[in-house]
Each structure stands twice: as C-alpha cells, then as structure tokens.
C-alpha cells in the first residue's frame, strides 16, 4: 500500500482523494467516480433519450409544444453542468398520432438511434402500439404522456411508468365534484372512444349513478354534431368531456351553434385555456373564442400556469423565455417541463453510471419527492402510477383558472382522500440535487 502511494503522481493522488470524498458524499450505490458507457445511449458525455410525439396531425394543437418544452428544460440542465457531466440529448420523432407510425418510429429510436430510454411518449392509442415491444427489448419507458391506467402493470410491463394522474382517478375526483357541487343536474358524457376516454368514464361511473347520455368520438372523424345534438336532446345540464384539445374545441363550438349551454367538465388533457382559445378562434374563423370557456370545470396536478407567485411557475417561465420564446406560455409547456424535471430527478437518483434495469429499480425503491406536483407520486415495486391525485379548478371570465377545494388522491378502486402534504419549493438552481 505504502509503495503504491509513493509511486503515485500528485495528480493521481488528487484523483484518488477526490474519488474517496465523492464516494462518501454522493456516489452511493452506483459506485465509481468516472463516467463509463454503462448502457445503450449512455456515453461518458451524453445521455440519449427518445420520444414519439404528435408534431403534426389531429393531436398536434397544443401537444406539439410538450417535447420542445421538455427539451428546453434539458438544455437548461445541460447549460448548468448536465447530469454527472453528461449532456442530455432528446430526440423526439413525429408520429402524427397514428399508432402505425408510432410503431415504426419507435423501432428507429431503439434499433438505430439506440436511445437509453423512451421518455414521455405521447398518446394512449399510439403508445399502446409499442408498450409490448419496448418491454420485450427491456428499454425503460418512462413517464408516458397519457393517463391511461394501462401503464401501471408492473408484472407484464416492468419497464413502463406513467406520470400524470391516471384518467380513472381523475374521473373519480371530477365525478365527486359533480356530486357535491352540481347535485341534481342531469349529467352526460362525451369521450374519446379508446382507453383514454373509457378509463375516464370508469372513474366517473364510480361516482355518478345516473347518466343521461353517453356519446363518444374517434379522432379521425371531426364531425361531432350528432353526438352534441344527442347530449342536448337528452337534457344533460352537465357534460363531462374526456377529449383531446381539438375535440374539446369542436364540442364547445358545436354546442354553441346549437344554443346548448351545459356546464362543461373537461379532463385536464383537453382543457388548456390558451390552446383552446387558439383552436376556438381558428375553427370558427374568429367568430368565437375564449369566452366559450367561462365557467368550465377542470382539474390540475401541477401549479396553475397563470399563478405568477408560484416559484415553480417562475422557474419554468424563466426557462421558457430563455429557450422557447416562440411557443406560448401554457399548460403544455408547463407539462413538458414538469415531466423533464421528473426525468432529471430519476436519472440522477439512478447514480453516476445508470443502467436500463438500474433506473427501473431506482424508481421502484427511491421516492421521487420535491417536484412541482400537487400530489405525491405512486411509484413503488407494485405500482407504476405517477401523480396520485388532482385538484379541481374552474375557468373564470378572464380565462384564468382558480382552484376549488383541496387536492384529492385516490387509486383506481380505492376511496378518495384529501391530501394534506405541503407543496415543495424548487431548488435554487432549478435542478434537482
């Protein structure tokens, strides 16, 4: 031992001391203090992740901002030293919200670009097309941008994790709000005819006993007049809508045309005010706009975009202004940054030299806390759910949302509980430690 030390150059001994200190301080289970190419997509200087996003097509309005927003947060992290010195490269490919395209571009990400993980891939019908493939290839499939409860299936899909509250939980909490605050009114449903809408309906049905009319749509058919007319004919005074933004806008415009004015209760994914205002104006060629949104009920699991006093909003707005000024500051941008924050938390927790199995293990065993969410994450060894709850909000005449009542958490079949945890504040440099 002595002999070895004597032979060391001063530089080497500095490295050795640095190693020992770093080991004590931070390295933890990962071990080692030098970066190695520990997994596909991980080199000594880069973490490459990929995603499939609707940059064009029926789901593009609003949702096409999510990936650039996440990328803006990654660029911010890269500019501030990266993750253990590695820069994040985020490659997101357009699938046009077409599951067949998702299937082929996901193979491009995995086989050709050799990404470490697929991150925040968007859409229920689209991602269902590849979830088996990603798991058979053992590619981490992190924080799917969809609230389908199909992502929470650790025994068949051990590599897949959800992120936003699942639609069933969301449906239950919205249903509870209707029972408590809109009691006695006739309720109708308008939902996308796939796992997205059906999961939401599953939650609603646990709370709402009688439904006047159940109408659905498919994203490939933009004529929703028959469905809205049927809702009107049924006398529904409250319409719960599990729809993507373009179809929320179509439904609102069609209802306005029919002089039908129910209380609209819209799932979080279809309710972003700036996105809807833009769509309403565009679809009606300027005849209508944001005024149709007044009184709409929705819910939130991140701070409200308009709440300038919230430190998370300050942080993310600052990054937005610096990196993606050309995009509007809205719920989609906030969503993308929130998901990116969660990824940085997870990859940091997985240690200096993460592996594909390692990050899955980390998510199942280490609680991710201190993020922007209003409710806690559900991640555990038997649970791949993200945020466990939401807070109901209403849209005022000025287009700003106001939260109503406490944050509630739930599970797909359990009871609804009030959540009393205090919200976290972001770290001073805006990067999770």
């Amino acid at each position: 031992m002595n002999i070895q030390i004597n032979h060391m150059t001063s530089a080497m001994s500095r490295i050795a001391i640095g190693c020992a200190l770093a080991l004590l301080a931070a390295c933890g289970e990962s071990g080692g203090t030098t970066n190695t190419a520990s997994a596909p997509g991980i080199t000594t200087s880069e973490i490459k992740i990929g995603s499939t996003q609707p940059l064009t097509g029926p789901a593009a309005p609003g949702y096409s901002e999510i990936a650039p927003a996440a990328n803006a947060y990654f660029q911010y992290v890269n500019a501030h030293g990266g993750i253990f010195g590695r820069k994040i490269t985020y490659e997101y490919l357009d699938d046009g919200y077409n599951p067949t395209t998702t299937s082929s571009v996901t193979r491009k990400l995995v086989l050709q670009d050799k990404v470490f993980a697929v991150f925040n891939a968007l859409g229920t019908p689209t991602h269902l097309a590849v979830v088996d493939y990603l798991n058979s290839e053992k590619v981490p499939d992190l924080f799917v941008a969809s609230g389908c409860n199909c992502w929470n299936d650790p025994s068949t899909h051990p590599y897949t994790f959800g992120w936003q509250p699942d639609y069933t939980i969301e449906g239950k909490i919205l249903g509870q709000y209707i029972q408590q605050n809109l009691a006695g009114k006739k309720v109708g449903y308008f939902y996308q005819n796939d796992e997205f809408g059906l999961d939401g309906v599953k939650g609603l049905d646990q709370q709402i006993s009688s439904v006047a009319s159940r109408q659905n749509y498919v994203p490939t058919n933009t004529n929703v007049a028959p469905q809205i007319a049927a809702l009107q004919a049924s006398g529904a005074q409250v319409v719960v809508s599990f729809s993507i933004p373009a179809f929320t806008a179509l439904a609102l415009l069609t209802a306005a045309k029919l002089h039908y004015n129910p209380v609209w209760v819209v799932s979080n994914v279809g309710s972003d005010v700036p996105t809807l205002t833009g769509l309403l104006t565009k679809f009606s060629s300027g005849a209508a706009g944001g005024q149709l949104l007044t009184g709409m009920v929705t819910d939130a699991y991140l701070p409200l975009v308009t709440d300038a006093s919230n430190p998370w909003i300050t942080l993310f707005k600052k990054i937005h202004d610096q990196y993606i000024q050309s995009l509007p500051w809205d719920g989609n941008v906030l969503y993308g940054m929130g998901a990116a924050y969660a990824f940085v938390q997870a990859i940091k927790a997985a240690g200096r030299n993460p592996t594909r199995a390692g990050i899955v293990h980390t998510l199942e065993t280490t609680k991710l806390t201190g993020g922007p969410g209003l409710a806690p994450y559900g991640y555990g060894s038997n649970n791949h759910l993200g945020y466990l709850g939401v807070q109901v909000a209403t849209i005022g005449a000025d287009g700003n949302a106001t939260t109503v009542g406490p944050v509630y958490t739930s599970s797909d079949s359990g009871s609804i509980n009030q959540y009393s945890g205090t919200p976290a504040t972001p770290p001073s440099n805006g990067i999770p430690s």
């Binding site: 940059l55 096409s64 490919l93 357009d94 919200y97 067949t100 395209t101 082929s104 097309a129």
Partner: protein, 359 residues
C-alpha cells in the same frame, strides 16, 4: 410424359427463365445485403419490399390498365385485418395467413372491380376514394371485432430456431418480405408479357379498338382489379406482421395517396418503377423524421419540415423526370446507347415505352 415435357419447355421460355434468374440473383444479393446491415436497416428494407408488392399491383392497375385507384390503402387494410383476425388466438403458419389475406382482399377487389369497370376517369377516382375513406371506419364502428382506434396487435413472425437465438427478428421479417416481393414481381412480370398483359395495355390505350380486336374490356378490367387487389392484400398482410399493429389510422386516405405518388415518382406502368417509388416512399420520411428535434428551428417550422420536404421531392421529381425515376433512367440509357451507336443508327434517345428495355 407430354405434360412434363411441356413443363420443361415452359421453364425454358425466355421470359420465365429470365425473370426467375433475375429474381434469384436479386434474392441472393438482398439476403447478403440484409445480413450485413443493422436491425433497423433490415426493418426499413422489409418496409420497402412490402411497399413494392402494393405499388407493383397498383402500377399494373393504374399504369398498365389505366384504371386509377385512390383506394388501395383500404385494400391493404383488408389484408392487414384478415391477418390480425386470423392470428387472434390462433397460431397459423405464415404462408397460410398470407394466402388467406390475399384471398380476402381479392374477394373485396372482385366485388369492387365489377363496379369500377363501369366507371371512368374522375368517377372511378371518386368511387375508389370512397373505399379509402369508408372502409377503415368499419373498424371503429365495430370495435369489438376490429379493436377500434387502438387496433389489433400482431405477433412478429418467429425466426426458425436453426438461425440461432440471436438472429434479429427484423432480419427474418426482411427475408420474408423480400421473398414474397420477388415472387410477386416474377408472377406480375410474366403476366405482363402474356396475352393477358397485352390485353391490359390494349384496353388502356383504346377501349373501342381493344373491343374490336376481340378483347372483353369489362372482364379485362375486373381481372386487373382483382390481381391488383391481391397484391394489396398480400402487402397489407405483411404490413401487419411488420408493424405489429393493425389500426385504422394506419390505412387512411394518406396511405392510398402515398401509393399513387410512389408509382408516379417511380414510373407509371413498369415494375421497376414500383421499386423506385417504394424506395422513395420509405426513405424520404425516414431521412427527415429526426429533423424536428435535431435541427435548431422554431417548432412551427421544424415540425412540418418532413412533410414539406416530401412535397418538394414530389414536385421536383415531376419537373425533372416527368416519366418517373424509371423513365428518367431509361431515357439516360437510351441517350447513352444513341451516343455509342453514333450516327450510324437513327436512335435519338427515344424510349419505346412498351418495350423500354429494347429487348
């Protein structure tokens, strides 16, 4: 005994033996190529082969027989859904699934072909477009059978065990698709050289003259439609295996229009045109798909760039090679031949479109 002799003579006829020889050489070369490239390149190669089957069939209908079909995406959907439904809960051999899917699409094609044979020009285009718009909607209307928007998943074809456990499934898929594509091309090539193929062209060029020459115009058109539908069904079946999913969004009007644009870019009326068109159809989007995130452009530009480039390729191709890539190459070949032969012959770089190879 005479039957055997006749069989041998058939094999020795120049057309069949030439086509078989070419296909065999192509098969060996493509297999070698496929073994040298990565798994994703194999996956892409399989896509090209699958689109070759569909576009070759469409080119026979549109380029050779003169019937425009804007509904071939729907006929591919028939093949793909047949495959998905056959494989739902059963483990049938691939060849049987391919043949049954082909039969299913041929049947739909036959029914539709009878109607199509009565229609001309824009009416035919409209009717086939209706097929493309309407047929995929059946899948969402009867979602308990067809799986709705999410569609039906299809297990990938399993590679035989003698290839080893590490053999990439994408490569096996590519081999299957290449083999099926080459068989299809040989069969179609022979058909085009036969009297049936000549009657296809005769009907395209002048219906009245063809009828006067004793050709049953309506029957010829129906036959062309059925053969073409069979190709679409076969391609659809392989497409289902390839993508692992059959969903209505994958078989929209856009697919039908892409097939048409592929044969126009590649070259109308020739099988090699179908091959060139399929290469463009697969490789251009593949090349542009990463641009949105890799180029530092405003997202409103970057997101739409792949579509813009695809459109630009279409426009430029039409301006530079109005007879398609195949036509352009043949023109080059003819010009070179004329230069070589000098003034001794009267070749002036003119292509005989019905016998462009000059054979």
């Amino acid at each position: 005994m005479p039957a055997v002799v006749k069989g041998w003579r058939l094999l020795l006829t120049p057309t069949l033996s030439r086509h078989l020889g070419l296909a065999l050489v192509a098969f060996i070369l493509l297999l070698l190529l496929s073994s040298q490239i990565g798994a994703y390149d194999d996956y892409t190669l399989a896509a090209v082969a699958i689109f070759v089957i569909a576009t070759a069939g469409l080119n026979l209908l549109t380029g050779v027989n003169g019937q425009l079909s804007l509904g071939h995406g729907a006929l591919m959907a028939v093949g793909a859904y047949s495959t998905s439904l056959l494989l739902r809960g059963h483990d049938l051999p691939l060849i049987l699934v391919l043949l049954l899917s082909l039969a299913g699409a041929s049947l739909v094609g036959a029914v539709f072909g009878v109607a199509a044979a009565r229609l001309r020009g824009p009416y035919l285009a409209g009717a086939t477009l209706a097929l493309a718009v309407g047929l995929p909607q059946i899948a969402t209307r009867y979602s308990h059978v067809f799986g709705g928007e999410e569609g039906l998943t299809v297990p990938p074809p399993a590679a035989p065990s003698w290839l080893g456990a590490d053999f990439p499934p994408e490569r096996w898929m590519a081999w299957i698709a290449i083999a099926v594509a080459l068989v299809t091309l040989v069969l179609l090539g022979n058909l085009l050289q036969s009297s049936v193929g000549r009657s296809f062209k005769a009907v395209r060029d002048h219906e009245a003259a063809a009828a006067l020459a004793g050709i049953n115009v309506a029957r010829t058109q129906v036959v062309a439609f059925v053969v073409s539908s069979a190709c679409a069904g076969l391609a659809g079946s392989l497409f289902a295996y390839w993508s692992g999913l059959t969903a209505p969004a994958g078989f929209g009007v856009a697919l039908s229009l892409q097939l048409i644009s592929a044969i126009v870019i590649g070259g109308l009326g020739s099988l090699s045109g179908a091959v060139w068109g399929s290469i463009v159809l697969v490789f251009v989007p593949n090349f542009t798909s990463g641009m949105a995130s890799s180029l530092n452009l405003p997202s409103s530009v970057g997101n739409n760039l792949p579509l813009l480039i695809y459109g630009a390729v279409l426009v430029v191709a039409m301006l530079v090679v109005p007879y398609g890539i195949d036509g352009g190459l043949r023109r080059l070949l003819a010009l070179a031949r004329a230069r070589w032969a000098g003034a001794a012959t009267n070749h002036k770089g003119v292509v005989d479109w019905d016998d462009p190879a000059g054979s």
